[in-house]
Amino acid sequence: MRNSFAALALFAACVAASCGSSAKQNAAAITGGDPDRGAHHIARYGCGSCHAIPGISGAHGLVGPPLAGIGRRLYVGGSLPNEPANLEHWVRDPHSVNEKTVMPNLGVTARDATDIAAYLYSLK
């Protein structure tokens, strides 16, 4: 009985672990970016002072929407269909999508935006 519990726990742990890494692999495959580098850029640009972002230290902001599960949403920036190119476009130049948005243009480079999108799509 105890053995079967242990086996179950081990199985669950393996599934969780493989899910974690496969989410990153999927996100990297969809965007062509590197999720780990994306996490670094998110911290560097200071996204967390406005957004709550799982996995980023100190990212508990309430100004903008929380970004957990952003990959399951249908629109980004309130109007763009949620796909990698649009997410990157929104991250780089939000005012070209909505001139009244409070989200600032932080001078994110194309390469960094791809990595950031990769990280965001890896979030559950």
Partner: protein, 337 residues
């Protein structure tokens, strides 16, 4: 991998440079030596006491039936005298050691109290506020007075006299790499001498509980060679730079037409609030909100939009900024090098 290294480097650049055992100046080195001396001497005494206590435990008992010593024997006169002498010697040695420690403490206290000559020194006023540091470089020529916040630049190799006070409650100024603590007390001036013997960035923080955001009351000391220090000083004396684009000009107007000016000053503009940090050269500083966040546009926009989430209880008011005004505002503030 490279990214991880980069992240670690960035993190360590901002967090690992606050250590009392990594002395960057002669005062901190004296304190560290005293600490090491105490540690070794008292450690040795501890080991000796434990060893002496273990000796009787390891001795074989002569027999378990034997009754306790004090009930069966009156100690002989010789034993009594010997015990008395040993207790006397131990007491004398203890007093001598304690006296030695007092002498060592007092002499280190004297050596860190300040330099023998005040020649070549500079003076800086530091005033504690809930929860940030007001920094003012005194000068006989009023046009050369520099006011900044949460960042103290000092020249390497020169003694710096800190004249500390407080605007509200008791704070304590502590930069462990450079010196011990000094309380900042309302309506009173306390002094402290700093000296950095090698260039670097050293983190300091309030060391006296001062309210809700005590933990977010940090400051950075930037010790730099004389030439860099002088050029920093020359730049800080200047009024703020003029906006260089229509967007920055718009940001300046947003700033001047909002509640920001009630608390903040920007030299060279009509903004002359004296409640919060001076923002004349805001973008030249490493952090915002007294070391709470790295200073960049992303963090600045979050800080302006919702300071209470980032630093609950902060005296920074939530000033309503129209959403379309945020970009020009942060562009202007981050242009104030």
């Amino acid at each position: 991998m490279r990214c991880t290294t980069l992240a670690i480097l960035t993190a360590s650049a901002l967090s690992a440079q606050q250590s009392a055992v990594d002395a960057a100046g002669s005062y901190a080195a004296a304190i560290r030596s005293l600490g090491t001396f105490f540690l070794i001497l008292l450690g040795l005494i501890f080991l000796i006491v434990i060893a002496l206590a273990l000796i009787p435990l390891t001795r074989r008992h002569r027999g378990i039936e034997q009754e306790p010593l004090e009930q069966t024997h009156q100690p002989s006169h010789g034993t009594e005298t010997r015990l008395g002498t040993m207790v006397g010697i131990a007491t004398a040695v203890t007093i001598l050691i304690l006296f030695g420690l007092v002498v060592a403490s007092v002499s280190v206290g004297k050596s860190i109290a300040g330099p023998s000559t005040h020649a070549n020194s500079i003076a800086v006023e530091i005033t504690g506020n809930q929860w940030w540091w007001y920094v003012r470089y005194a000068n006989l020529d009023p046009s050369r007075i520099v006011v900044t916040a949460n960042e103290l630049h000092i020249p390497v190799g020169r003694p710096v006299m800190i004249r500390g006070s407080s605007n509200d409650v008791i704070h304590s100024f502590w930069v462990p790499n450079l010196q011990g603590k000094r309380d900042l007390i309302p309506s009173r001036i306390t002094t402290l001498w700093l000296q950095a013997d090698r260039p670097g960035r050293y983190r300091g923080q309030c060391a006296e509980f001062c309210g809700l955001q005590h933990a977010h009351m940090a400051l950075w000391v930037v010790a730099e060679p004389a030439v860099q220090f002088e050029s920093w000083m020359t730049h800080q004396i200047e009024p703020s730079v003029a906006p260089s684009s229509p967007d920055e000009q718009r940001g300046k107007e947003v700033f001047l037409n909002s509640g920001c000016v009630l608390c903040h000053a920007i030299q060279g503009t009509p903004a002359n609030g004296q409640v919060g940090p001076d923002l004349t050269h805001f973008a030249s500083r490493m952090t915002l909100a007294a070391g709470t966040l790295p200073n960049n546009k992303g963090n600045l926009s979050g800080w302006i939009a919702d300071p209470q989430t980032i630093k609950p209880g902060t005296k920074m008011a939530t000033v309503p900024v129209k959403s379309e005004d945020m970009q020009p505002l942060i562009d202007y503030l981050e242009s104030l090098r």
